[in-house]
């Protein structure tokens, strides 16, 4: 774990796309009519972001993970110059969001994930034409760029169809294409797969990783409350909780630290005694109470430090102890688990903990 300033020194040699220093925002709490009448001049502030500091390198796919109300959208709106920070600085490709918002809007673009932000009565191409103009592209340049981007998002055949007839996945891809018209160096994606079915979401993630980040070379900031999505897509992940960035780290390292230790075992009969023996030797960590399943199998969730190799050793040890093991499976980490573990590992420091 290293303090934020230390990390910035380490990364100063590579180009920084986004630099946040003590970024804070509080909103005035909404009050009822009665309270307004009794205390008309009283103002209560609710912190949305508290002293968020972080560096994001050019070309990085950075995930911002947190539950609803963690401050992800507020942070994105600040970066997109739609909300003014109360305190701290946010520098996007060398431009301050407060002092130079016009330049920031030329290098950073948020993907507005709301499908309704497209004009459904227009065709995909007409939607793109409008935003090409708003991004300052002249007619000839715009025409070729629109064709190129519609091909990138695999919508060339649907280009001249009304958006109203598009599926959610097509609309999401069009929203990304619309944003890429600006040729942004930094792209903000706020829960882009929330309205997609699992298959479309997986295809869309692949598209984001390979076509947007790798092929297009954008620095991508992805806000999500899906730990799987963040670990699947991102080079590094920041965990935001109640407006504080409680951890930042390389995805693999963060996952190894807080995620890749939970397993479920299906055994014939209760394996508690054998597992307790393994726990005494340190091969197994915390063991949850076993749960009976149909057909006489027992499911036990437990921690196995050391990942899959260690899990294989545990299964072998159980077999030697005459415990029949039907299945051993690494558990996907829920956001709640991730937050709990991150808080356990990093506590609640003034700055973010770094893996």
């Amino acid at each position: 774990m290293a303090p934020a300033a230390h990390v910035s020194e380490l990364t100063s040699e590579v180009s920084t796309a986004v630099s946040l220093r003590g970024l804070s925002k509080a909103f005035v709490k909404r009050r009822g009519w009665r309270d307004l009448a009794l205390r008309p001049f009283h103002r209560e502030l609710v912190p949305a972001l508290q002293s968020v500091s972080c560096e994001i390198r050019s070309g990085e796919f950075f995930g911002l993970l947190g539950p609803n109300g963690a401050g992800k959208t507020t942070l994105f709106k600040m970066l997109a110059t739609l909300v003014t920070p109360d305190d701290g600085t946010a520098i996007i490709c060398g431009h301050d969001v407060r002092r130079d918002p016009d330049r920031v809007r030329k290098v950073l673009a948020p993907v507005i994930a709301d499908e309704r932000s497209l004009n459904w009565r227009l065709t995909a191409r007409e939607n793109m034409r409008l935003y090409a103009a708003l991004n300052g592209l002249r007619r000839a340049e715009a025409a070729s760029r629109i064709d190129e981007l519609l091909a990138l998002v695999e919508l060339p055949e649907a280009a001249d169809r009304q958006v109203a007839g598009f599926s959610s996945g097509m609309k999401q891809r069009l929203l990304v294409a619309r944003t890429l018209l600006a040729n942004p160096q930094v792209l903000l994606l706020d829960e882009p797969t929330r309205s997609l079915d699992p298959l479309s979401a997986r295809a869309f993630r692949r598209f984001l990783r390979h076509d947007v980040a790798i092929r297009h070379g954008c620095t991508v900031l992805l806000a999500t409350h899906s730990a799987d999505e963040a670990f699947d897509l991102c080079d590094r992940v920041g965990v935001l909780h109640k407006g504080r960035l409680i951890a930042v780290g390389a995805t693999a390292e963060l996952a190894a630290t807080v995620a890749e230790e939970r397993y479920a075992l299906w055994t014939r009969g209760d394996a508690t005694a054998a597992l307790k023996a393994l726990a005494a030797s340190g091969a197994v960590g915390r063991i949850d109470p076993p749960v009976d399943e149909p057909n006489g199998w027992v499911r036990t969730e437990l921690e196995i430090p050391g990942g899959d190799d260690a899990a294989a050793d545990v299964v072998a040890a159980l077999n030697r102890a005459n415990v029949r093991v039907a299945r051993c499976e690494r558990l996907a980490l829920s956001l709640a688990d991730l937050l709990e573990r991150t808080l356990q590992h990093f506590g609640r420091p003034a700055g973010a903990g770094h893996v």
Binding site: A80, L82, R121, L122, L134
Partner: protein, 266 residues
Amino acid sequence: MYKIAALMRAGWLAATSYRFGVVMSFASLIVGVVPVYFVTQALQGQMSTVIAGEGDQFFAFIVVGMSALTIISATLYALPTALQTGTSTGTIEAMLATPTGVPTLLAGLAGYDVMYALLRATVVLVAAAVMGAHLTWDRIGAVIPVLALVILAHIPFGVIAAAMVLAFRTPGPLPQLVFMLSTFLGGVYYPTHVIPGAVRSIADAVPLSYGLRAIRVVLLEGKPLAAVSRELLVLAAFAAGLAIVSALAFQGALRYARKAGTLAQY
């Protein structure tokens, strides 16, 4: 300028995608002129002396007033409505995130509705002319600067209402107030000189009263622009003064919305 044109084009394409709606909209305009013709014909005897100096035919007098009111309505309501709709759908958030200046966005968002209102007003005038309204068509070029000033004197009310939408999510009472005052004290259905003393002073503060007088003197009496120079000066003063007030109001609202975090929030 091309950004404004792109926004107006998008507005036009979206509106004309409802083809039956467009046809019905123009059909209802033309049909609406018919009862006006018969009613004004019936009142022509009583009203001819009352409207003296602003044309000699009550039908043409009313048609010009109604056409102007259509345009005024668009200038008052286009922006706040576009902002309210755009905020709820997210289009405003998407547009504000592009490197396009706010004044350009506002001009583009209001532009289509104002142009459409101008088209509707022209259709009403043509339909009225076909039915026998006495319009001096060779003066139509001279009407354009008057109309431009009328629009410029009313757009700021729309901008102030849009500022209210940004800050408080409601246009407030201003557009309705200006529309009602323009309807009853702006000389749409009768000349302002028939309004009694105390209320007359309110009519003098209504920009449309100057605009309509100028348009009628030019289009119905066939007089040159020089004959309405006083009205043009007053309209220009309204436009300049209100432009400053509305720009300050909108900047303040934008700053407030960015600070309060409500800029792109429904």
